[in-house]
């Protein structure tokens, strides 16, 4: 094909930024599993939140209908995203905002950096935002001489600890209060050297530190939980009120929003403002819900910029089965119920998006096949498919089915492997009963490996099993051999007779 051919549509770009870890999930998980303090912290926190969630969702008689409504609205948004995005853009502009489109992390970072520099500030406040975490905005701003200050308490802990978030909603879930005290003493300028680990005292220290910065800030950067196409309204939902300070005090407000955060009408907020807090923190309502529409004279920021971020979302939308992952409202209910997340923590996933939804969303946004050893290709397998995530999801994303679909996509594109060979061999052996009974006879040779009815060691890859579990030796007789035997027939006849007597 010549370079001048213009008829072929370009493939939508994959996302970049913090959407890929350095090592595969099993390798990263091994390290995290050894961190017993982290396991205790995460286990305790997720158990608490999930008990609260079950309680507050259970008290709504129409919870299931709300979930269905949430799923239906999201499906509608994704089916007409281009037209809704245009409507949204026009509404924001009509109310005095400015709209910028970013294809990937680099474009978004460049836009935000330019906007901050235009204000003359070298410091920017941040409201907790997954999108800016996803594109690595803070790190990029630092290289341009701009200091980003996280105002969400948990984000601040992560930032001061030079750490990475490990949970969508509770980014410092892997830390306990004595660890937080140490981080504050080490990295918070002007902190009281006698600070103890009482949560109230820790919050006070953060409040004093942040208040100074709220007062002097000229620019703030926020994420968005929802963008309303009809009115151009944006919304941030939070617990501490620090977000509200960011959204109202500085002169310039820059919001970075993923394309999929759109909802069609203002009235649709009714559904999501019920679903989100109950699913995420197990609260009936979150303490602070902020909404803003463009700019208003003498009220809040005088300049408002909206950066609409693609970063792999269009590519995800193009996947007919997988696009359902874009329904996600980032509530983290799936993390809190996931037995894999509970034990490995968020860092094992290597991405801004951990847990079950991260295991589908990350490979969808950023792809999973750069050269066959992409860590993202291990994420769809980081699940036992237990289905707890699907049950908990407030917008009914069928995460287990999406994981199975991504596994299929990965295998279809995978390079030659020993696993492939074994799966093909197993498929051939099980495709007819003749071959299958021959394979069963071969399997019975496994009896030779056993002692006292159990097998304690197997050669690779079976040693992954026998490292912690025994395996029963295959019995001398298969079920079908018993069924065909005179003993089997007699037993069935007896059972019939016995049933007849009852």
């Amino acid at each position: 094909m010549s370079g001048t051919f213009l008829g072929m549509p370009a493939a939508p770009p994959r996302g970049s930024g913090n959407l890929r870890g350095a090592e595969s999930f099993p390798a990263a998980a091994r390290t995290e599993l050894a961190n017993t303090q982290m396991r205790r912290n995460v286990g305790k926190a997720t158990r608490t939140i999930r008990d609260k969630r079950v309680q507050v969702t259970g008290e709504l008689p129409d919870w299931e209908q709300l979930r269905s409504a949430g799923a239906a609205i999201k499906r509608d948004v994704l089916s007409r995203l281009p037209e809704l995005l245009e409507q949204f853009e026009q509404a924001v502009i009509a109310r005095g905002g400015q709209v910028h489109w970013a294809r990937d992390a680099a474009e978004a970072n460049a836009i935000v950096t330019r906007l901050v520099k235009d204000t003359g500030a070298d410091e920017a406040l941040k409201v907790k935002s997954m999108a800016t975490q996803e594109i690595g905005l803070n790190e990029h701003l630092a290289t341009e001489g701009i200091t980003a200050i996280e105002t969400d308490l948990a984000e601040l802990i992560v930032q001061l600890g030079e750490d990475r978030p490990s949970h969508i909603l509770v980014p410092a879930i892997h830390r306990n209060r004595s660890e937080i005290r140490e981080i504050f003493l080490r990295s918070m300028p002007g902190v009281d050297p006698d600070l103890d680990d009482d949560p109230t005292h820790l919050a006070d220290a953060a409040r004093r530190f942040l208040r100074e910065r709220f007062v002097r800030a000229r620019v703030a950067i926020s994420g968005a939980n929802f963008g309303v196409a009809e009115t151009g309204t944006l919304s941030v939902v939070e617990s501490e009120g620090n977000g509200r300070m960011c959204l109202t005090m500085p002169q310039t407000l820059i919001t970075v929003m993923g394309l999929e955060k759109l909802i069609p009408t203002y009235a649709d907020l009714e559904v999501f403002l019920q679903l989100l807090p109950r699913s995420s923190t197990g609260e009936r309502m979150n303490p602070y819900t902020s909404m803003w529409t463009g700019v208003a004279p003498h009220d809040g920021p005088s300049e408002f910029h909206l950066v609409l971020l693609d970063n792999g979302r269009t590519a995800t939308l193009a996947d007919e089965v997988g696009r359902e992952a874009l329904h996600c409202i980032r509530c983290s209910a799936c993390l809190n119920v996931c037995p894999v997340y509970e034990r490995t923590g968020g860092h094992a996933y290597g991405s801004t998006y951990p847990g079950p939804i991260g295991a589908v969303l990350t490979p969808q946004l950023a792809g999973m096949d750069t050269g066959g050893s992409d860590p993202n290709s291990s994420l769809p397998y980081a699940s036992s498919l237990c289905g707890a995530c699907f049950d908990a999801c407030p917008v009914k994303i069928d995460i287990p089915s999406l994981l199975v679909e991504l596994r299929h996509q990965h295998v279809e594109e995978a390079h030659f492997s020993a696993e492939q060979l074994m799966m093909k061999a197993a498929s051939a052996a099980m495709s007819t009963s003749g071959r299958w009974t021959a394979a069963q006879r071969a399997a019975q040779l496994g009896r030779l490996l056993g002692r006292g009815g159990r097998i304690r060691t197997l050669p690779p890859p079976g040693n992954a099993w026998t490292s912690a579990r025994d395996l029963p030796v295959p019995p001398k007789q298969t079920f079908r051999q018993w069924w065909d035997s005179s003993e089997g027939r007699a037993a069935i006849d007896d059972a019939h007779r016995e049933g007849g007597r009852r």
């Binding site: 998980a29 696993e419 495709s431 992954a464 490292s467 298969t478 069935i492 009852r502």
Partner: protein, 255 residues
Amino acid sequence: MRVALFATCLGDTLFPDAVKATALLLSRLGQEVVFPPEQTCCGQMHVNTGYQREALPLVDNHAACFADESIDAVIVPSGSCAGSIRHQHHIVAERFGTPALRDQVERSRAKTYELAEFLVDVLGVVDVGATFPHRVTYHPTCHSLRMLRVGDKPLQLLRAVREIDLVELPEADQCCGFGGTFALKNADTSTAMLSDKLRNVAGTEAEFCTAGDSSCLMHIGGGLSRLQTGIGTLHLAEILASTEHAISPKQGALA
């Protein structure tokens, strides 16, 4: 009814006692049990590991065995295999199969039941006339619970068993960490999940841990055996097939 037994590959080869118990129980309840000999495996391992193309011949073979109109219902003593047949076969058939296969799959999945579901929903029996004088705890396997929504039907059946001492398993609805090839691909995480399950099982001081799926029991049983807890695993069907004349478990797989 004329009911066909799907033994599952694991049941046929490694856990025949669970399948025998299913056959005997259904016969005792007056059903005409048949065993289509061409059956092999439902292909769940292939589908769940991403090998849908390789699952096609298995789905094809399975549907050909069970779509037959002379069969009223297909009974599976495994929640995960029943789940795969009901919720995954049509994906493979739609993607790679012929219209004829799609039709066969549709007919087979519509009459496929996990054992407890069939007993309670179709036959309307809760007391199957079993006697089992042992202390037992029940693990409700993820796919039975969430893919098939069997709810507390297995517990209803167990509660009606005579002389049984049924003890509740703490954190019962937590996955045991098996997940098919997950146990091999993510062995460390799987083991971490298993150890919590084992602690909960051991804490009940039960003699047996039971479930409706031999694969989960293979995992839990393998762990109980390695730790030499003395606690056995037993398929739900083996308890339900036990009567005062024939208390079935000789060993409970690994003890």
